[in-house]
């Protein structure tokens, strides 16, 4: 490992420290709002436990939809040219810039009675005001994040590998599963983690499509909002802390899992002036 010059190291460490302290400060400021006894009580409350379980289930469901959708679209977009591609590419980014509330209102209009609600109901699929609706709303938010990361990852895979594999007689499916997917895997996984974290904190879209029915469509962020709105700051903060703790735990675990696979990190060196 190459040691950086002290000046550069210090200069780069400063922003890191500022931001790190800011994040830690926010979490601590939240944590000090509730007494440990109150926190413990809120943690064991039926509402908190339901919201935690529901949040995990809904985000898992959303990932089941968003991962195949996102990766398949990304692979197509990274390997094919077609008229209007740039236009479509920009269009698919729109959910990223939409305020989630607006995404939720749009989904509500689309899935509601006036447009798709009746035909979907005839197929036995009730989305508005149901847990499934929450899954759909979160998948809508998560898919473009996964797609964006996966597309960049597929594009960065050296096409030489693919060409060699095809010359050696691998079919297109095996090229995808055995060459491109593993080579792009790390970046795709990073996108999936980001998207998952985003769904755990998602509020606006879920609220509009699934409603805020306690113990029915109540995710942790919805629980936070409902309790904040009723002035129950203690319960709201406790729910927020549960959300943060669970997500932090999962994010840390995922990083250790990724690091444990023995991938040598070549990036752990400072750029050297020749």
């Amino acid at each position: 490992m190459i040691r950086p010059g002290a000046a550069m190291g210090g200069l780069l460490a400063l922003p890191l420290m500022v931001f790190g302290l800011l994040v830690a400060g926010v979490v601590l400021a939240l944590a000090t709002q509730v007494a440990p006894a109150g926190l413990w009580q809120a943690l064991r409350a039926e509402e908190t436990l339901f919201a935690l379980r529901f949040s995990l289930e809904v985000s898992a469901g959303a990932m089941c939809l968003a991962i195949p959708l996102g990766i398949a679209s990304a692979y197509f977009m990274s390997r094919r040219d077609f008229p209007g591609k740039r236009f479509l590419d920009a269009l698919l980014d729109l959910p990223l810039v939409m305020p989630p509330l607006i995404a939720g209102v749009g989904l509500l209009f689309l899935l509601g009675r006036q447009i798709l609600g009746e035909p979907l109901a005839r197929l036995g699929l009730e989305l508005v005001f149901t847990p499934l609706g929450a899954v759909a709303a979160q998948a809508f938010i998560a898919t473009p994040i996964i797609m964006r990361n996966a597309k960049a990852a597929f594009e960065s895979v050296d096409p030489g590998f693919q060409e060699t594999a095809m010359v050696l007689g691998l079919g297109p499916w095996r090229v995808f599963f055995q060459i491109n997917l593993p080579l792009a895997g790390r970046s795709i996984a990073a996108g999936v983690i980001l998207a998952w974290a985003r769904t755990m904190g998602e509020f606006g879209a879920t609220l509009m499509v699934a409603g805020a029915t306690r113990l029915h469509t109540e995710t942790l962020p919805v629980a936070v909002y409902l309790n904040l709105a009723s002035g129950e700051l203690g319960i709201a903060v406790s729910c927020a802390l549960v959300l943060l703790a669970v997500c932090f735990g999962v994010l840390v675990c995922l990083r250790f899992l990724a690091a444990g696979r023995g991938v040598k990190k070549r990036s752990l060196t400072w750029p050297r002036s020749a």
Binding site: V105, L108, F109, G112, R113, Q114, G117, V128, F129, L207, M208, G211, A212, T213, R214, H216, T217, V222, Y225, L226, N227, L228, A229, S230, G231, E232, L233, A236
Partner: protein, 258 residues
């Protein structure tokens, strides 16, 4: 690496962003601006009244619209603000308990009605229709929304509580959310504010609810203890509860306090 013109573009973008942030923050930091916390459901009349107040007095008012409970939490967390105008006296009472109110006055009634889409799937003629099988009812969350709490009282007094609760397909976090569900026909009926239905008369119909079934919420204005310009704040609060203001609220479907 970006080409030079790309870098220049990004630099210009960053600089203009900074300039915007700086100018807006310096405008917000102005001392003389009165901060009004207003319930989101009161938006139209409050905006109209505040414009008039600013023209008449030359004072500047910054309005923050949100759910009343959320505004209460905002005030308690920040300890800042001058005037509080929630959709229910419930919230000003909470502040009074903590001695955070300098002056207060009831403004208008926030009356619940049964709202339904005029071109709905089913017809609603009486309150008991909400209990019919297959009707999709929307109600407010009883803790988060003033009208959600009122709706619980109404359900209990009607004697149809269990059957209506069984028909309840969704709970809203704000009254406007329920109104949206009504406008889109996603629910057949919802207990919402009279003013909300009144403002959407072309699309929504309403059924009055027996007044003995609930205590009406009273929109109440309060001057906050934290205000550093109590006199000006009081001027605004008096204006918002004046006969002229009550008349303006009336045009948006709010009833006067009897």
């Amino acid at each position: 690496m970006l080409p030079p013109h790309g870098r220049r573009f990004i630099l210009a973008l960053l600089l203009s962003l900074l300039a915007t942030v700086w100018s807006s923050s310096s405008a917000l930091a102005g001392q003389d601006v009165l901060h009004l916390y207003s319930g989101a459901g009161l938006r139209q009349p409050v905006e109209e009244l505040v414009q008039l107040f600013q023209k008449e007095t030359g004072l500047q008012v910054r309005i923050e619209f949100a759910g009343s409970g959320q505004l209460l939490a905002r005030y308690q967390a920040s300890g800042q603000g001058d005037v509080f105008l929630p959709g229910s006296h419930f919230y000003t009472d909470k502040l009074k308990e903590k001695d955070q109110v300098v002056w207060s006055k009831p403004v208008v009634l926030h009356v619940p009605v049964v709202g339904f889409p005029k071109a709905g799937r089913v017809e609603i003629h009486a309150f008991a229709d909400l209990a019919k099988p297959g009707i999709r009812v929307g109600l407010g969350d009883p803790k988060a929304m003033a009208l959600g709490r009122t709706a619980e009282d109404i359900l209990a007094a009607s004697g149809l509580g269990d059957r209506i609760r069984a028909n309840t397909v969704v709970r809203g976090a704000t009254v406007k959310q329920l109104v949206l569900y009504l406008l889109k026909g996603d629910v057949d009926a919802a207990i919402v504010a009279r003013a909300d239905v009144f403002q959407n008369q072309d699309k929504l119909g309403m059924l009055e609810i027996d007044p003995s079934w609930y205590k009406p919420e009273i929109v109440t204005v309060a001057v906050l203890r934290a205000s550093r310009q109590v006199e000006k704040a009081q001027e605004l609060a008096r204006f918002l509860s004046s006969p002229q203001a009550v008349e303006t609220f009336g045009r948006y479907g709010f009833l006067p306090v009897k």
